[in-house]
């Protein structure tokens, strides 16, 4: 009986937690872009710069080095130069602007930018069916990358 009670309580607690996390997550089409960028966290959970560095580096996730050089990752071979170097990027942009650029840079620069929107449903034509409604990164992965970018100061 006691064991069962514990199980039930635990299950309810877990459900409540996951519902809370879901409820505070901003949906990709509800992100508000202002002059200063995106002011509020997409998840309400502080970004983790260590996880963000991994997302940044991973070719299957951010793959940010494909286009951006980053001296902080000089151990990685081959940094692209399609976009600007990210050295000192946190000196140039505040956190809300970094969040906005990662989430959907077309809202900040112009429609013509090559940079994909990592938390956007404004995608190209003929989208692969399994990616319908999916963003490149999750809201938390964006927060993690933004936290990592915040460490890149000169």
């Amino acid at each position: 009986m006691t064991r069962r009670m514990h199980f039930t309580l635990g299950a309810i607690a877990a459900m409540t937690l996951s519902t809370a996390a879901f409820a505070s997550e901003v949906a990709p089409d509800a992100v508000e872009f202002g002059d200063e960028g995106v002011m509020t966290s997409l998840t309400g959970v502080a970004g983790d710069p260590v996880a963000g560095a991994e997302t940044f580096k991973s070719r299957k996730l951010g793959n940010c080095l494909a286009c951006h050089a980053n001296a902080d990752m000089s151990g990685e071979l081959f940094h692209g130069d399609v976009g600007p170097s990210l050295d000192g990027v946190a000196d140039r942009w505040e956190e809300p602007m970094l969040r906005a650029i990662v989430a959907n840079s077309k809202q900040i620069f112009t429609e013509a930018t090559i940079m994909p929107g990592f938390y956007s449903l404004e995608v190209g034509k003929h989208l692969r069916e399994d990616l319908e409604g999916q963003t490149i990164l999750t809201a938390q992965q964006v927060e993690d990358v933004v936290a990592y970018l915040g460490t890149l100061k000169e």
Binding site: A66, H79, G80, D81, V82, P116, G124, K125, L127
Partner: protein
């Protein structure tokens, strides 16, 4: 075997060293077995670039050197296979390509520089691969070759190689070639997939930049089928499909209307560059 070893060594070397990072096409000239190759030329009227560059100018020295000598070029194995196929009888009519066309060095000279052409029978542009299939089904009594199978790439490489060094020049006045060119232009500038990229995003706007270890070229097609050091002989429509897949979009079918239009348009974008088939690329 020697060619395969050479290719392997170059691949290993390019993976191991970080190599020089440069922003522009190199200053170098290409001759293949004494045939001068135009690797840079003035763009035709209405082209977004002033000057056209062969993808050869964007590759590292080791890769460029493999193109200079047809004995070192690993793609020449495919050309030899294609030559054997040219002379092989197939189908109910008991014919080979050579039965009607004789010596390819004579009869196929210029073909690789002038296709796609208008095909009134099908009412669409026809490329070398589809022309081979037309000959097979209508003249030889043989089955059409499926995409990239049955020696399609090898025979295409052999036929295009007969135009080595000749400048690419399409006739857009034939039939409805001009409207297919327009459609191909639309395809070229259409952003696709989750990554939301068009051909132009990389090969026009970011041309000359590095995307990770890859030096972005103008996306010229004068060397196809090309020998890629990472994947071997590669047909043009295979490359189109690979690029589009990488944008995380549905891949169009090879020889579909969209890709035939795209082939027409990007071939025009290389007007005046020499045919390099089989080129050697990264």
């Amino acid at each position: 075997m020697k060619r395969l070893l050479v290719a392997g060594v170059v691949l290993a070397a390019s993976l191991a060293g970080s190599g020089p990072i440069w922003a522009d096409p190199v200053d170098d000239t290409l001759e293949i077995d004494g045939v001068p190759i135009v690797t840079r030329t003035a763009a035709p009227e209405g082209h977004p670039f002033d000057e056209l560059y062969s993808g050869w100018l964007f590759r590292e020295k080791e890769t460029r050197d493999l193109s200079r000598d047809s004995f070192e070029n690993p793609g020449m194995i495919a050309v030899e296979d294609g030559e054997a196929m040219w002379n092989t009888v197939e189908g109910t009519a008991g014919k080979s390509c050579a039965s009607c066309h004789g010596d390819a060095a004579e009869s196929m000279k210029g073909v690789g520089a002038s296709f796609p052409k208008w095909d009134a029978d099908s009412g669409r542009p026809i490329n070398v691969e589809l022309q081979i299939n037309k000959c097979r089904t209508e003249q030889m009594g043989a089955e059409a070759l499926p995409f990239n199978k049955g020696g399609q790439q090898e025979l295409t490489a052999y036929i295009k190689h007969q135009s080595l060094g000749m400048p690419v020049k399409l006739d857009l006045t034939e039939g409805e070639m001009q409207s297919w060119w327009e459609r191909g232009k639309d395809v070229y500038y259409t952003r696709t997939g989750q990554l939301n990229l068009a051909c132009a995003s990389c090969h026009e706007v970011a041309m000359g930049k590095m995307i990770r270890a890859d030096h972005l070229s103008q996306g010229q097609v004068n060397g196809f089928p090309t020998y890629r050091l990472k994947s071997g002989l590669t047909s043009l429509h295979q490359r189109f499909r690979g690029c589009i897949r990488d944008t995380r979009a549905v891949q169009p079918d090879a020889f579909s209307d969209d890709l035939m239009a795209l082939e027409t348009y990007v071939t025009w974008r290389g007007t005046g560059l020499s045919v390099e088939t089989p080129s050697v690329r990264q």
